[in-house]
């Protein structure tokens, strides 16, 4: 069978529809006027304005901080969990697998409100002063991001030769030395890919963050949400374009690291 013309057309049209809105969004970030659908000339005004918008910069910084914390914790937790699942047989292993799947299967909004209940009841949402108040949000992100890291690392472990561990032990290495000098170096590509995945998931998250942020703390997606609801200006386009560039760079990195392990 060959690729017939109608199929090619559908593929082309689908790609066009997927990219057209993003292209329009980027194009209007350079609009001279206030409108986001009428072209009024080229300018960098909205980038300048976005760069001087304290709220926007703070939200962007918050998003990056949360993503960084969530990535470090997710990578450590996900890797440790994957190694434990690979190395040991124990009762309740299938229950654990099921629990790891919960953040993947359960609707995000349900997890979001469930976390809201805990955060509000324990006072985690309002008790902490500003920079510390990012920590609970980061922990909420870890909850849905670390299972993804565990899945990526587990996939890499599947092709791992257990005799390397035995050799390491026979040569007198203890638990720690075997872990840090044999296992972790071999898992590095999967850990980097998992970390980048966790970073993107955290940076992208709206729903969980929306429900777990207290008053006075905002992240980039949550700020865009309120901006879209109240006043749409090309400033959002400019900020979005910057975020798209950051995410694309990360996606490219993740792709590069993922490749040798497959």
């Amino acid at each position: 069978m060959r690729l017939s013309l109608p199929l090619k057309l559908v593929l082309g049209a689908a790609l066009l529809v997927l990219y057209a809105p993003i292209a329009v969004l980027i194009a209007f970030s350079f609009n001279a006027g206030r409108r986001v659908s009428v072209w009024q000339g080229f300018s960098f005004d909205w980038y300048v304005r976005a760069a001087n918008d304290a709220r926007l910069i703070e939200a962007f910084g918050n998003s990056l901080t949360i993503a960084a914390i969530a990535t470090v914790i997710s990578t450590l937790l996900g890797t440790a969990t994957a190694i434990a699942l690979w190395r040991f047989s124990f009762r309740g292993k299938s229950v654990l697998f099921g629990l790891l799947g919960v953040p993947v299967v359960v609707p995000e909004i349900c997890l979001g409100v469930a976390l809201l209940i805990v955060f509000a009841r324990t006072g985690l949402m309002t008790a902490l002063p500003y920079p510390a108040s990012l920590l609970p949000i980061a922990l909420a992100h870890v909850a849905f991001a670390f299972p993804f890291v565990a899945i990526v690392v587990r996939a890499r472990l599947a092709g791992f030769d257990p005799r390397l561990i035995e050799a390491s032990r026979d040569l007198g290495a203890g638990e720690w030395a075997t872990l840090t000098r044999v296992l972790l170096p071999l898992l590095r590509p999967a850990m980097v890919a998992g970390a980048l995945l966790a970073f993107t998931l955290s940076l992208d998250d709206f729903v969980i963050t929306f429900f777990t942020t207290g008053p006075g703390t905002t992240t980039f997606p949550v700020l865009v949400y309120s901006m879209v609801r109240f006043s749409v200006t090309p400033e959002i386009n400019a900020a979005s374009t910057v975020l798209i560039a950051v995410t694309l760079a990360l996606a490219a990195l993740a792709y590069k690291f993922q490749k040798p392990s497959t």
Binding site: L3, V36, P107, I117, F206, V232, T247
Partner: protein
């Protein structure tokens, strides 16, 4: 490896403990609290009493909320059908493309998924605003199809790429028309991929609230919007929790049905 954990208690505990603690703190405890709340009564602004009442679940059966459920299901079904109708030919086109080009085409389909969901939704608002479709259920379905497409293309591509093309050729050689070949050979053979794609689109769509919130206008409400309101403005946490659990059950039901159908097929 299948080591006995009793022989390496220290390593076992330090490897598994942190992950378990995280799951307990962020999944088990919150879900359990939400379950308890769904059987509780709201008394005053912040006071909630656990009474084992089913009132919140009964309230979900009121005509107003049944209407919201019906609209959510209707929007999710329309989204699923439209997404599959687009994703199938797209996945087929990629599967039939020269092997060298397939990876690039797949990447092109998946790449928008890496852009922030809010950014993509906002981009759609810009594009849809001159059409007059904004703030209608149609805009909600369109935006949901837009964000769901990569989820449908991937499983369909995986299935179509493995499809034995000789079966299609045999069907054509035996005199079947292209349509009959599609309907009687290709469709049954790719049914598992279609089912997987349908679940991957339907489940997140049923639980979505952002698209109906930003593009739906006053007339379009999904379950997610009602849940959000109970926690953010209406302040009826027991009712919000009950709705949330009903959504979890619906999701689990769809996933279970799909895996049952898969098991039957084998």
């Amino acid at each position: 490896m299948n080591e006995n954990w009793r022989k390496h208690r220290g390593a076992f505990a330090s490897l598994l403990g942190p992950g378990l603690a995280m799951l307990a703190f962020a999944i088990v405890v919150p879900m359990a609290l939400m379950l308890a709340l769904s059987f509780s009564e709201q008394r005053g602004l912040t006071q909630v009493a656990f009474t084992g009442t089913l009132a919140s679940y009964a309230r979900a059966l009121e005509p107003l909320y049944l209407g919201v459920v019906a609209q959510s299901v209707w929007i999710s079904l329309a989204t699923t059908i439209a997404t599959l109708a687009i994703a199938y030919p797209v996945a087929l086109a990629i599967a039939l493309a020269p092997p060298k080009r397939r990876d690039l085409l797949l990447l092109l389909v998946v790449l928008p998924f890496w852009t922030n969901l809010l950014v993509r939704t906002y981009a759609l608002i810009i594009v849809l605003s001159p059409t007059g479709l904004l703030y209608t259920p149609v805009a909600v379905v369109l935006s949901l199809v837009y964000v769901s497409l990569p989820f449908a293309v991937l499983p369909l591509y995986a299935q179509l790429e493995r499809l034995d093309r000789r079966l299609l050729e045999a069907s054509r050689d035996l005199g079947a028309s292209a349509w009959t070949t599609f309907r009687r050979v290709m469709l049954p053979l790719t049914a598992p991929g279609l089912a997987a794609a349908a679940v991957l689109v339907f489940v997140p769509t049923l639980g979505s609230f952002l698209q109906s919130d930003l593009l739906g206008g006053a007339g379009t409400q999904m379950i997610g919007n009602v849940i959000e309101r109970q926690f953010k403005s209406a302040n009826d946490w027991p009712f919000g929790s009950a709705l949330s659990f009903l959504l979890v059950y619906a999701t689990a039901g769809v996933v279970a049905l799909a895996s049952l159908a898969r098991a039957k097929r084998r």
